[in-house]
Each structure stands twice: as C-alpha cells, then as structure tokens.
Amino acid sequence: MGELAAFMILSLVTLIPAVVVVTSSNIVRAALSLVPTFLGVTGLYVMLQAEFVAGIQVLIYAGAITVLILFVIMLTEGGTGVRTRQLNDQVPLGAMAAVWLAFVLIVIFTRTGWPTAAGVLPAYNVVAVGNAFLSDYVLIFEVTSVVLLVSLVGAIVIARRED
C-alpha cells in the first residue's frame, strides 16, 4: 500500500514536470522543471533499491547537467525565449508519434511475460557495483573514463573563443 502510494507520488513528480519540460514555451522554466523530474527518477531508483545510482543521479543530473543547461541558456539567447517560436512545424506528427509509441510500448510491456526472479539485491550494493565495475566491467569502466577525458578536452576546445 505504502509502496504503491510512494510509487504513484514519485511517478507524478517525475512525469508532470516532464510535460512542462517539453511543452513550456519558457525555456528557463522548462530547464528548471527538469529538476523535479530527475528527483522523481531518483526516488524511483531508491524504491528499486539502487541507492548508489540514485545518489549519482542527483549529483550529476540535478546538480550538474541542469546547471549546465541553465548556463547555456543564459549564455546564448538569454531570457525566457517566450518571444521566439519554440515549436517547429511537425508538432502534430510528433505528438502522434509520441502517443502511438507510448501506446505500443505500454501494450508490449503489459503483454510480455517478464521472467521476474524473486530475491533481493545485495543489501549494501555499492560494494557490489564497485566490484562489478572493477572486475567484470573494467573495460567499460576504462573506456568510459577515456570518453570523459576526451569530452572534457573536446568541450573546452569547442567552446573556447579563438582569440
């Protein structure tokens, strides 16, 4: 019961601001309403007992990426962008596509019999994640770090003014 309630609340916290994100003509509001979405997702993670992922989610998405987006908004066109047309000419098609896709996906998800296995995650699964990263997925880990470095350098080089 309580779980259901929490789930409902979190889903709404996730989805309603998401609607604002994609529809609001005020770009800054859209960016700011990313925050509750991310926090809602975080809550879902916590409900899924993925605490570490939740923490990282807040740190990176809510903390860093949103701020970055706000920055770029401020540094490019600034302002709310209410005066400029925010939506392009394929709104109806896009909406249709989104709705249909949602419909199809939901149908698929409900129809499929998922091989749900009972059992719980390791209680303190930060350790598990860490071990997995450094044992089975060490290659992914290294590659990701290299990608991080490259994107850091790349972002600096791209965004630097040539003068």
């Binding site: 019961m1 509001r29 605490e51 923490g55 860093a64 949103t66 920055f71 303190y124 930060v126």
Partner: protein, 399 residues
C-alpha cells in the same frame, strides 16, 4: 498502516531538525558570526539584547518575519518564490545523514543511509539550482551575475569536495557516515591524523592534505570569504539574493548557514572522528592546545590590536587543555566516556565553524580567475594525487 507511521515519524523528525537547525544554524550562526567578526575587528559586536546580545538574532528573525514580501515586477514570480525554498530545504536535507552522537549503542541519526556522504554531496549540489534560479528570476543584473558566478564556483568546487569525500570513503571502506566514524574508531585514529600503520608518521600528510582540500572546497561551496564572489557585497550588492526581502531572505540565510554547519558537521564526521572522544589519539590534546597557542602567538605577532583578538583563541587553547586534562584523568579513572558524545560532536563542529568564520574575517576576496585556478590547477591535482598515493599505500600495506 506502518508506512503512515513511518511518514509521520519522518515528518516529525524533519520538523525537529528544521527547528533545531533554524535555531542553531541560522540564529546562533549569525550571532557567532557577528561576535567573532567583532572580536577579530576589535569591536564588541551585538551586546544589548539579552546577555552579551544573545537574543539579537532572535529579534532580527522576528523583524524579518514581520517584513513584507516584495516581488519585483518583471521577475518570474513562480521561480522567484520557489528558489529560496529549494535552497533552504536542500541545505536542511543535508542533515538527514549527520550522526550527532551516541546514546548507549544507538546512534543519533535520522537515517543511516548506506550512501550517506554521497547523499550529502548530492544535496549540497542541488542548492546550486536554487541559487541560479533565484539569481535569474530576480530579473536583476547583479543577482543574475551573482547566481551565475555562484553556480560556476560551486560546480567547479564540487570536484575537490567530492575528492575529499572519496578519500575518507576509501580509507573507511564505506560511504555511510556512521560507518566512517566507526571506521575511525576501529582504525584508532581520526582520518585527519590517519597513520597508515606500517609507514607510520609518513602517512600523516595524506590525511591532513585531504582534510584541507575538503575544507577549502567546503568554504567555496558555502560561498564564504575568501570565495564569496557570488555575494560580494561590495561588487554585486548581495549577489543572487539582492532582490529578496523578509522571510525569503531569511530562508536564503538559513540555507547558507545550514549548509555551512552541514559542511562543518560532515568534516567533523569524516576527518575529526565524529562524536568520538579525542582520547582515541594520545597526542590529540597536545596538538589541540599547542595549535591554539601557536595561532595565538602568530596573531600576537600580527599588527592588529591583540587583546580582543587573542582572547577567543586563548580561550580555545585553555578549553583544549582543560578537556584534555579532564579526559586524561577521566580515562585514567576508568570512565569509558568522560563527556556525552553529543557534546564532543558539537564541540568539534563549532570549532570548525569558528575556523570558517575566522577565515572569513581574516582573508581578502579572491579574483575569479584565481578562484578557478585554485580549483582546477591546485586542488584537483592535489586531491587526485593524494587519492592515488593513499590508495597505493592502503593496497600495499593494507588498512
């Protein structure tokens, strides 16, 4: 309905902590700030309301509560009103994972999450959103500049902060705050003076370096001098909350002081043994008293008027000596814990708070480029190297 009970309990705790922090952090914090600045600047500070002006901030709060809320005309009202709440709530949410002490074998903590310090970092990073939102929504160039500066500064100082946290987590082998304190008890030393066993005193620099990295980054995170560009009164009136009035302004203040106290608390937990007694370390009291005396000597040699300035420090030294002696004989007398752990925790936390305020009233403000240089070219490499070296030592010689 157990979950309802849980919810109520959580709400109750939240209220308790909120009030506690509102009182401790904001009011006491502001009071201390004034008093200490008074000492340092050879003034007296608030004096009239209450004994030694203790009730001054209460009076201020009451005044702020009465004041009218002004929302600038071209401001984005919604965001403008939400921003201070975000800041305050995020700052207070920090405290969920802070263990204050121990009763018997029960730790005084709201929730001992297994990602405690990570959670702390996350929450403190959320504050940025509130600040930038407030700064932008005020529709005021100073506020916007302050918000952006603050955002950039906090983003760039989150990395050294995280490095410091990582260091402690690595040495402790856990992210949980309680776990970290327990680890310090187990390993028999505060992490600031952590001695990786076989290399003995050579291990000392690691802990000190990590804790200094963390403290510096923390100072920057809470936008205090020498990192107070975002709210540089002299350039940007008050930075991102220039347009705020009344209780919203107070909320920003609350958030700021709550964050500051939170940082101090986390530093206490991660590097200064949390609620545990310093007599874990036989040489601790020497360090405390001697440190204070040295500081006093240094200040005596500076050109300021000494009497008012040196007093608190000598008081601190005396306090350290007293405590150490008490503890010494207490432990000789066989007491397991001379003072209640809560006392210890608060003592350490306030010592760090004092340190922060002391810095604020001692140092000039950095330039923006100096700020970023310090973060990216000094703290980041230092922290990384420190992390690597410590990890190497731990792997080679074991914990």
């Amino acid at each position: 309905m157990p979950w309802l009970i849980e919810l109520l309990k959580a709400i109750g705790l939240a209220v308790v902590i909120f009030t506690f922090l509102a009182v401790v952090a904001a009011m006491l914090g502001v009071y201390l700030e004034r008093k200490i600045s008074g000492w340092i600047q050879a003034r007296l500070g608030p004096k009239h309301i209450g004994p030694q002006g203790l009730l001054q901030t209460v009076a201020d709060t009451v005044k702020l509560l009465q004041k009218e809320h002004i929302t600038p005309r071209h401001a984005d009202a919604l965001i403008f009103n939400v921003a201070p709440v975000i800041v305050a709530v995020a700052a207070l949410l920090d405290w969920v994972v802070i263990p204050f002490g121990k009763l018997g074998d029960r730790v005084l903590v709201v929730r001992d999450i297994n990602i405690g310090v990570l959670y702390f970092a996350a929450m403190s990073s959320v504050i940025v959103i509130g600040i930038i939102a407030g700064g932008w929504s005020s529709n005021n160039k100073y506020a916007l500049l302050g918000g952006l500066r603050s955002a950039s500064q906090m983003i760039s100082y989150e990395i050294p902060l995280a490095l410091g946290i990582l260091w402690a987590a690595m040495v402790a082998g856990t992210l949980s705050t309680v776990g970290i304190v327990d680890a310090q008890v187990r390993q028999g030393s505060w992490f600031m003076f952590k001695l990786p066993s076989p290399i003995g005193w050579f291990g000392l620099p690691f802990g000190i370096l990590a804790s200094l990295t963390f403290l510096t980054a923390a100072t920057a995170e809470v936008n205090r001098v020498p990192f107070d560009l975002p709210e540089a009164e002299s350039e940007l009136v008050a930075g991102y909350f220039a347009e705020y009035t009344g209780m919203r302004f107070a909320l920003f203040q609350l958030g700021e002081y709550g964050e500051m106290f939170g940082m101090a608390a986390v530093a206490t937990i991660m590097f200064f043994g949390g609620w545990t007694e310093p007599h874990l370390q036989p040489y601790m009291w020497l360090l405390v008293t001697l440190g204070c005396l040295v500081v006093a000597a240094v200040i005596l040699t500076t050109g300021l008027r000494q009497t008012l300035l040196v007093r608190p420090i000598l008081m601190l030294a005396g306090l350290g000596l007293l405590l150490s002696l008490v503890m010494f004989f207490g432990t000789r007398a066989g007491l397991s814990q001379v003072l209640p752990s809560l006392m210890w925790f608060l003592a350490k936390m306030f010592a760090l708070v004092f340190f922060l305020m002391w810095m604020r009233w001692t140092y000039p403000r950095l330039r923006l480029d100096q700020l970023l240089t310090l973060s990216w070219k000094v703290l980041l490499p230092l922290g990384l190297l420190n992390l690597l070296a410590t990890g190497f030592v731990l792997t080679v010689w074991g914990r």
